[in-house]
């Protein structure tokens, strides 16, 4: 039951959930200097994350139809990590541009969330359904496998939320945390990659 492949997929699901929520919370921090702390800023961020995740689920499920492998899961993590890098370097000019372009801070923050967070979140959203496909062997066990993976990835989300809002923002600068998330995604890619080789 507990062979390397299974463990690797669960670690990947936990890490994916962790990074998604950590990023969502940092979203508020990143947007506040430009679009403020009003409730609509959080509305924008949550909307973009929900829409992006839903698209990611759709895409991940679709991609799992053809030759699913842990290597491809590793590629999704790597792409997610690469998509986070511009947040460190290009978020400020992007928000400055959108701030001048859009007067209403509601739509400004929505556009900024879309530009900054949609791509990484779509990529990270692909992980859950893809992970289900990697572990399911028979129809009767599919619900059990999916349930366990949801459990692990949502637990990861909870830990990412708490860790970021209670501790990371107290210990590190936003860009340091973002860099940490990029490194975490690279490590998760390596775990998935190793899981494929070990089995």
């Amino acid at each position: 039951m507990f062979h390397a492949r299974t463990i690797a997929v669960h670690v990947a699901a936990f890490g994916g959930g962790f990074v998604i929520m950590s990023l969502e919370l940092l979203g508020g921090r990143i947007l506040a200097p430009w679009f403020g702390g009003s409730i609509h800023v959080w509305g924008s961020i949550i909307t973009v994350f929900m829409v992006s995740l839903s698209l990611g689920y759709l895409l991940g499920g679709r991609l799992s139809l053809r030759n699913p492998s842990l290597d491809k899961l590793a590629a999704a993590f790597l792409c997610g990590g690469v998509a986070l890098v511009p947040l460190v370097h290009a978020a400020e000019p992007a928000m400055a541009w959108l701030f001048d372009l859009i007067e209403d801070p509601r739509y400004g923050s929505l556009a900024a969330s879309l530009v900054l967070f949609s791509l990484p979140t779509v990529l990270l959203g692909m992980i859950s359904p893809y992970a289900v496909r990697l572990l399911v062997r028979t129809a009767p066990e599919s619900g059990h496998v999916a349930g366990t993976l949801y459990f692990v990835s949502t637990l990861g989300s909870a830990v990412g939320t708490l860790g970021t809002s209670f501790y990371f923002v107290l210990w590190f600068e936003v860009n340091t945390i973002l860099t940490g998330l990029v490194v975490a995604l690279a490590v998760l890619a390596a775990v998935a990659f190793a899981g494929e080789r070990a089995s």
Binding site: P33, W34, G36, S38, V169, F172, E173
Partner: protein, 312 residues
């Protein structure tokens, strides 16, 4: 990419005890002053529950968070000019640094007490007030006699967004008052070096900024360092009858003590009607505030103001 240390070193135990007693004493005085107040209006907004309480002729605005209700604004209906809360009186100390401000920006409307006082004290001044919560604006008009006029305007906006837009539109102010902190929560993007620099950029060459903030908090050193990095030299103004700390800085070099004293004498008569004994203020202006310089300034990258405040 600097790693950050955890919560600050604990101050010594006796100091903490003295502080606690002092805070409790002041709090009891405040509580006595507002005790048995009856709630005459309660309205939920997107951000908080806004309460209006009444005790005799005094109506107060409060934001309901926990049990600890602290008054945000108070109005004495028998003496509407009289500034009931000590911190509002203390903020008028900024008039000693910039004698006749023509354009004034107030961040955080509350009951609108300060904008109203400025408009009355300075008949030629234009006052812009920024308030994030539209419910607060309605309550200020209904219960605190606040009125928008040709000279007093309100903008419902986040302060940071307003500040950036105002900079783009070349609005400049002789006096900016920062009064956006509740007793329980600090909007963290409004306590960073970057925000203060954006605020400083809105000042005219003789402009002055004055902020209402907390006296006893784990933030003290971080906040002082943040002010120092954004504004350079600043004045700290505290009194033994208020839990608040007023910080003031100027775009031009701060005026000499003798100039400040002279201005206090000029203002004295006018401000007496507002319950402000302005001539007592200059002696309490601390031009060389002390703090632990090893504490980090807060920035947009590192802004855990509420965690640091609670960490004392």
């Amino acid at each position: 990419m600097r790693a950050r240390r955890g919560p600050a070193l604990r101050p010594n135990r006796w100091l903490r005890a003295i502080r606690a007693v002092r805070a409790a004493t002041i709090f009891c005085c405040l509580a006595a002053a507002t005790g048995q107040a009856k709630v005459i209006h309660r309205e939920a907004s997107l951000y908080q529950t806004v309460l209006v309480t009444e005790r005799g002729a005094v109506v107060c605005l409060q934001f309901e968070t926990r049990k600890d209700l602290r008054n945000q604004s108070c109005l004495d209906r028998r003496r509407p000019r009289h500034l009931v809360l000590p911190y509002t009186r203390m903020l008028l100390g900024a008039l000693l640094l910039v004698p006749n401000p023509e354009t004034i920006l107030v961040i955080g409307l509350g009951g609108g007490i300060l904008p109203t006082a400025f408009a009355e004290l300075l008949p030629d001044a234009h006052v812009d007030a920024v308030e994030i919560d539209p419910v607060v604006v309605g309550v200020a008009e209904r219960f605190f006699g606040f009125r928008e006029t040709a000279r007093v305007r309100v903008f419902v906006s986040d302060a940071r967004v307003f500040t950036r837009r105002a900079a783009g539109r070349d609005r400049r102010y002789d006096l900016i008052v920062l009064d956006a902190f509740g007793s329980e929560y600090i909007p963290e993007h409004l306590m960073t070096v970057e925000y203060f620099r954006e605020t400083r950029a809105l000042l005219t060459p003789r402009g002055v900024v004055a902020a209402n903030t907390f006296r006893d908090s784990g933030l003290h050193d971080h906040e002082s360092e943040t002010w120092h990095q954004a504004f350079g030299p600043f004045i700290e103004f505290t009194t033994d009858y208020s839990l608040n700390r007023i910080l003031m800085a100027s775009a031009a070099p701060l005026p000499e003590a003798s100039t400040v004293d002279e201005r206090a004498r000029t203002w004295h008569r006018k401000l007496e009607r507002f319950g402000v004994s302005i001539t007592d203020f200059p002696g309490a202006f601390n031009r060389a505030p002390r703090w632990d310089r090893t504490k980090e300034a807060l920035t947009d990258q590192y802004a855990p103001a509420n965690l640091l405040r609670a960490g004392e």
